[in-house]
């Protein structure tokens, strides 16, 4: 709204013409300069897409769509297939969401519905700080503290109790899909909590009051009325978290084990798209090798682009619905 407040020139009130013109010229200069800076953001974004597209031309032409269905990643024979990395990315993100979604939504419900405003704000402050912890710190803790813990206790324990599932078989290395998924879960929980909390808080008050007035318990009003009302926005927060999980690099690189494997076992070491780029980019010899890695970057970019766009759409839709009902 304020973006459209163009002033109808300085006004014909006082001063000579040249004075007015100088004023207007000052405005025009300021407008031009700030425009250049704003335009550079668009330019840089377009350039980024162009470079990824251009930088992977060789690999795209050579492998075509087969790139996504080939299991072999052999730099020496110059055979490059993305399937193991796509698999690793999907598996780790799935593990992360399975853990993070219930925990995150539960915590968001507590913050939005139960906690007094002061406690809710304090906890939200800590959650924001948690979101600010750098990825490499999670990697450091993951590699030096969580990996030994997984190897010595968690994975043997899972094998003894749930070992009949193909998910929990094979030797316990400590590193692997499961560990990466758990670290990712911790990293994306803050995003789910923050966004879901806001969405839940935007649910109009009458919805809760109506449910309580009809005799439902506090939990029933929350779970059967408030949460369904905010469902679209909560989905949005999950997609946002998914986009983060797919693009997350350092922490995953440090705990996933770095091997291009496809295995049903979550204990198996693997690789994600981001981790293979981080590990091999500087070592890539030959144009085709480098371009195959850039193509992986392009895939990652497109994935997060689509997910982010979708997530934002869902959140906006919920916010509007809440607004409409509140002011009919």
């Amino acid at each position: 709204m304020a973006a459209t407040t163009t002033v109808p020139s300085a006004g014909p009130v006082a001063g000579s013409r040249s004075f007015l013109r100088r004023l207007r010229e000052g405005d025009e200069i300021a407008r031009l300069i700030t425009f250049l800076f704003a335009a550079s953001v668009v330019l840089v974004t377009l350039l980024l897409i162009f470079e990824l597209w251009q930088g992977s031309a060789l690999a795209r032409h050579k492998f075509g769509l087969q790139f996504f269905f080939t299991r072999v990643w052999d730099p020496i024979a110059e055979q490059f297939g993305a399937l193991p990395f796509i698999y690793g990315t999907v598996i780790t993100a799935t593990v992360a969401l399975v853990i993070a979604v219930p925990l995150g939504i539960g915590a968001a419900i507590f913050l939005a519905e139960l906690a007094p405003a002061r406690l809710s704000d304090t906890l939200e402050f800590f959650i924001d700080l948690l979101a600010a912890v750098p990825s490499v710190i999670y990697g450091l803790l993951g590699f030096l503290a969580v990996v030994p813990l997984m190897r010595d206790y968690v994975q043997p324990g899972l094998k003894n109790t749930l070992g009949f599932l193909p998910l929990f078989t094979g030797p316990a290395y400590g590193v692997g899909f499961l560990t990466a998924g758990i670290i990712l879960a911790i990293m994306v929980i803050p995003y789910i909590i923050s966004v879901s909390r806001e969405v839940l808080m935007s649910v109009p008050r009458d919805q809760r009051e109506a449910a309580l007035g009809l005799g439902s318990t506090r939990w029933e009003s929350t779970w059967k009325v408030v949460v369904p009302f905010a469902r679209t926005g909560i989905m949005g927060s999950i997609f946002l978290a998914l986009a983060r999980a797919l693009g997350e690099t350092m922490a995953v690189t440090m705990v996933i084990g770095n091997a291009p494997t496809i295995s049903a076992s979550l204990f198996s070491p693997g690789d994600s798209i981001a981790s293979v780029i981080a590990n091999q980019f500087t070592e890539a010899t030959g144009d085709l090798y480098l371009q195959a890695l850039v193509e992986l970057g392009l895939v990652l970019f497109l994935l997060t682009f689509l997910l982010n766009g979708f997530a934002r759409l869902l959140i906006v839709i919920t916010a509007q619905r809440g607004g409409e009902t509140a002011h009919p």
Binding site: A38, V41, L129, I137, T217, W219, M250, G297, F301
Partner: protein
């Protein structure tokens, strides 16, 4: 009370308690991380860490002085690139632009914000490293600067738009030109918010590692110039943590503590800068 009602109340109480447990678990992770780093990093940190260069492989001792200076240089470059573009771009969006241009710029900024950091690294590599044929501090600063732009831009714009209309109109009624209104009324009115936005963007890139891996690379010595590769704290943490040496692990903990302390302190300061009761817009 009928058994049915008693059961429903029981379920309600149980589930509500569980949501509290979820919140407790999420928040306690922060303190777990903090405690673990303070414990391990606190034992490892010493004066040498800040003043000495890394020792050759196999020798114990040494420090990360070059990485600390390297990180400072990278962040300076990043701020020089990210803050002007974010700040002036936001002024254009909030004060000058029509809705169509604003939509395109916002869309581009949001898109840039969602790009995984490793992809930003690839971009900086092909744009800065390849033409100069050299890993360099410049390339690393460029990558981090790019990541600062969208955060600075979008939050600054929100704070500028939050300045009451009456202030603008009052300034203009006094005969001030548009840019004078912006420079002397609107920006000063929003300066706390803008400072917060810049600090948060700074804190975000201070811990970034992935975009530095193949731009600034690493260096075991002082970086001789802006066009040479440089060590940085996040990359040092990465290489030291995954190394097989006990002493390097010790130093990785120390570096982790320094980095996390820096990031958290900036975050807390940024939030304290804002007057109480004003929400920080999320990036």
């Amino acid at each position: 009370m009928s058994p049915r009602l008693r059961w429903r109340k029981l379920v309600s109480g149980f589930m509500l308690t569980m949501t509290g447990v979820c919140a407790l678990v999420a928040v306690s992770v922060l303190f777990l991380i903090l405690g673990y780093l303070v414990y391990n990093g606190g034992r490892s940190i010493n004066w040498n860490f800040f003043t000495k260069l890394p020792t050759p492989v196999g020798e114990t001792g040494g420090g990360m002085a070059n990485a600390i200076v390297g990180s400072a240089k990278l962040l300076l470059l990043a701020s020089l690139l990210g803050v002007p573009i974010g700040f002036l771009g936001a002024i254009y969006l909030a004060e000058f632009s029509g809705s169509k241009v604003a939509f395109v710029v916002r869309y581009a900024a949001d898109l840039l914000n969602g790009v995984p950091s490793i992809v930003i690294g690839i971009f900086a590599y092909s744009l800065v490293v390849l033409p100069f044929k050299h890993f360099s501090t410049l390339a690393g600063g460029f990558a981090l600067g790019l990541m600062m732009i969208p955060v600075t831009l979008r939050s600054t714009e929100q704070f500028l738009l939050a300045v009451p209309r009456a202030l603008r109109e009052a300034a203009m009624a006094l005969g001030a030109s548009k840019w004078k209104t912006i420079a002397t009324v609107i920006v000063p009115a929003a300066y706390r918010g803008i400072l917060t936005a810049v600090l948060l963007a700074f804190a975000r890139v201070a811990g970034e590692t992935a975009p530095l891996l193949f731009t600034a690379m690493g260096n075991r010595y002082w970086s001789p110039g802006w066009k040479q590769p440089t060590a940085s704290l996040p990359v040092m943490i990465f290489t030291y943590a995954v190394s097989p040496y006990e002493d390097w692990h010790r130093q990785a903990w120390a570096a982790g503590l320094v980095l996390l302390g820096l990031v958290l302190v900036i975050n807390i300061v940024a939030r304290a800068v804002l007057a109480r009761g004003i929400a920080v817009p999320r990036a």
